[in-house]
Symmetry: C2
Subunit: 205 residues, 2 copies
Amino acid sequence: MTDAAPRRGRGRPTRTQTQAAPATRDRILAAAREEFSERGYEKTSVRGIAKSAGVDSALVHHYFGTKEQVFEAAIEVAFAPALDAPEKIVEGPLDGVGERLTRFVLGIWENPTSRTPLLAIVRSAVNNDTAAAVFRRLVAAQLLRRIAGRLDVPDAELRAELAAAQLVGVAMLRHVIKVEPLASADLERIVAGVAPVVQGHLTNP
Amino acid sequence: MTDAAPRRGRGRPTRTQTQAAPATRDRILAAAREEFSERGYEKTSVRGIAKSAGVDSALVHHYFGTKEQVFEAAIEVAFAPALDAPEKIVEGPLDGVGERLTRFVLGIWENPTSRTPLLAIVRSAVNNDTAAAVFRRLVAAQLLRRIAGRLDVPDAELRAELAAAQLVGVAMLRHVIKVEPLASADLERIVAGVAPVVQGHLTNP
């Protein structure tokens, strides 16, 4: 990027600077997402993010805090559609919730644009406990617990996690490990095999 | 290690040396497993393995070939019980195959001794395409295909992979990401939720 914001020197940014620049904040977030995607959590530094965004490190700290907090903010954006999804997924008739959740999760993985940041998050979470904690907070607390909250079964949270496990496993074997025939299988064939399982975990008595 | 084998200088080892030393081969394998576990595939070098085993790099190459081949040999040992398992798992009555496979796979993950190398393999496979290829060859080709070969359903390989996906997902969320309540749930509760799913993938008409 050549249109870097004017640098105001080191140290804490002035009030004017922080108020003036939602665009700067977004640029830092985009740079963070790219750095975390390319390097993973451990090898990414706040300094590297700042450099790539064309700002001072202090500005990154000012907007987001620690590296863990930058990571959380960066992946929160990637997860934004997922965090809006539980309502849509559980709103309809309960006997279609398995298929809706399956299509939603596998759909995110089918789309290369959403797959890339997701893959970065998974790689980071598998390799680093801090990144795993962020993943837990976002996915487990926000997504799964909101689904579980609408179920009327005992063990609702555990059930939502077993359902999620089926989908996580499919994503891993299809998109990360790329095991055949699953990696090349038609999505509809997979949905046909997996949606009833997800449904069963969520609603079977 | 202080009991390093006598070094015979650089270059291709002599015939006597290679015949004489199954113990050396085992020591190299143990060192390889440890290095790959600690550092992951990318950061591990043949040189580091040789150093840790107290031998020359040339000896590592002589016994195993490339780094990829050392990795394959190292994880093949870790997978040895799994590679003997398909017979036991599919030998019994077919209506118990889901529970036997579930108990077998989740059992490997419950045991810290077998979990550590497995975790290293998963981390390596998630981060590196070469390691993923090794994982595919061992797990998919040897384990899953042998199970699929005994099933009498269409799409047997895909079904075995969807069943495996349920178990992979449980292992990921329970032991890698450590999502609660799944991470602390009683194993029997998980088996009760998951075995029928695995059974269904494998044998449902």
